[in-house]
């Protein structure tokens, strides 16, 4: 009785195993004829989704043709990694302060987005930059205002 039961189990194991192998082959055969999903990178590039979080960058507004940063320093204060440094200046007395330098070391940035959320002028956003390869770690320290002027 027990041996015949073992024999049935043996046959069942072979049959279920063969079936699962056939299922696996069918899946890879379907993949073989489905369209490829990769792109040939240096020649073709993917466009990032709007939700992509690169390092932060300043927004260019249409009314002033530049950013709205007032150098309040809230982003520098809330940053958990202390990677932001803002410098602003007043051109004349009684005028608004304007951000002149916004330096960020994004090699230490964790892309938490607190600076974007806290900004009272809403002049920060995530860039869609993903080709982040540099020769020195000092190359990751960038001035966002300078970047805004260089990239219209």
């Amino acid at each position: 009785m027990k041996t015949s039961n073992g024999f049935i189990l043996y046959i069942q194991e072979i049959l279920t195993g063969a079936k699962s192998l056939a299922v696996g082959l069918w899946i890879t055969l379907k993949r073989l004829f489905s369209p490829i999903v990769t792109v040939q990178y240096p020649r073709k590039k993917l466009t990032m989704t709007p939700n992509f979080r690169g390092h932060i960058e300043a927004i260019r507004f249409d009314d002033t043709k530049t950013h709205h940063c007032v150098a309040c320093g809230l982003c520098a204060r809330i940053c958990p990694s202390h990677v932001i440094k803002v410098q602003g200046e007043k051109t004349k007395a009684g005028d608004k302060k304007i951000g002149r330098h916004y330096v960020i070391d994004f090699s230490k940035c964790s892309h938490c987005g607190l600076c974007v959320d806290v900004c009272p002028e809403q002049t920060l956003k995530f860039s869609r930059e993903y080709e982040l390869v540099y020769y020195s770690r000092w190359d990751t320290v960038i001035d966002l205002m300078q970047r805004l002027e260089e990239r219209p």
Binding site: I14, L25, T28, F33, I36, Q40
Partner: protein, 332 residues
């Protein structure tokens, strides 16, 4: 002066007749065909692997990367052949040479079409099996002489695996042999002029293909060169052209195994519309495609699973299949 008037040439011709010419022409064709075929198969393998993983595979060298493997061969030819210290120099030198020999000799008795066969032999099937065992010997030589633990483990695995899988291979071949009563390749093919043997012997055909996959050390049975455990197994220490000789032998053995399966089960050169050779090539490359497809589908077996699969599944089923075949043939 006519070369055939030389006395010793005459003697050789009298002794061997037209077989000598067939052997010379055949070996020339093999020597040209084998490396080109390997270059082609490596490209096909990479393309199949790529498309199964939803990527295009090699695309840079030539249109759709068709020249990639030729460039790889040139690169391998240009590399230094390093012999590490503390190795067994003679065996280390001999192993990659010896591994190519069965890959070339195995072509001799295969009948590609009614007229394309280098040498008809009474023991053609057995000859290929016996020569395929030599390649295991050279793998053991390579692993032992490298003086490297990974090489040795890979070589020992190769021996254990090939001993285990040769039994179901020969048993499944035997169930065809007792149907045709011959070891001659062309007679086995001629016996399938109406019905292919795969319809009479589907179990034996599946066991044969599984066992040849294991004999060629192809995935999922590639424990010999399991790169996640053994760097690359028995050819860890080999560089440049010596490494590519092992590669050449692996892919050529695959073609020989597929040719054997075609002859034994898929009706050799028989098929409608096209001449025999084209049908043979189509069947061989279809089987090679199946082997590649299997490679990129299944994960590698563990070593105990490998041995259990051979001894507990394949050998009993092959024996039962042989027994049933024998009984049915006796009754009919």
């Amino acid at each position: 002066m006519n070369i055939t008037q030389l006395p010793y040439i005459k003697d050789i011709f009298a002794f061997m007749g037209s077989d000598l010419m067939a052997a010379v022409i055949g070996l020339l064709i093999i020597a040209v065909f084998v490396p080109l075929n390997v270059a082609f198969l490596v490209l096909v393998e990479r393309k199949v692997a790529g498309h199964i993983q939803l990527r295009p595979g090699p695309m840079e060298v030539g249109p759709h990367g068709i020249l990639q493997t030729l460039i790889d061969a040139v690169k391998l030819l240009g590399k230094e052949m390093v012999t590490p210290g503390m190795t067994d120099k003679v065996l280390f030198f001999l192993a990659p040479i010896l591994v190519v020999v069965p890959a070339f000799v195995g072509w001799v008795p295969i009948s590609f079409s009614p007229i394309m066969q280098i040498r008809e032999m009474n023991v053609g099937v057995l000859l290929i099996f016996s020569f395929s065992s030599i390649s295991i010997l050279s793998i053991l030589m390579a692993g032992w002489s490298s003086n490297n633990k990974y090489s040795l483990i890979g070589a020992v695995r190769a021996v254990a695996q090939n001993v285990a899988y040769e039994i179901p291979l020969l048993l499944s071949t035997m169930s065809v042999i007792i149907m045709t009563n011959t070891f001659r390749m062309s007679e086995i093919v001629n016996a399938q002029s109406s019905v292919w043997h795969i319809l009479y012997q589907p179990v034996a055909a599946i066991i044969f293909i599984i066992a040849t996959t294991a004999e060629c050390n192809r995935a999922p049975f590639d424990l010999v060169e399991a790169e996640s455990e053994l760097v690359s197994g028995f050819h860890t220490e080999y560089t440049g052209m010596r490494f590519s000789l092992f590669f050449l032998a692996e892919y050529t053995n695959m073609v020989i195994a597929a040719s054997m399966a075609t002859v034994l089960f898929l009706g050799g050169w028989f098929g409608p519309f096209f001449p025999g050779l084209i049908w043979f090539v189509i069947k061989v490359y279809f089987l090679i495609f199946v082997v590649m497809w299997v490679r990129w589908t299944y994960p590698r077996l563990r070593f105990d699973q490998l041995m259990n699969f051979a001894w507990k599944v394949l050998i009993p089923i092959a024996l039962v299949n042989l027994l049933i075949t024998a009984i049915v043939l006796k009754v009919i």
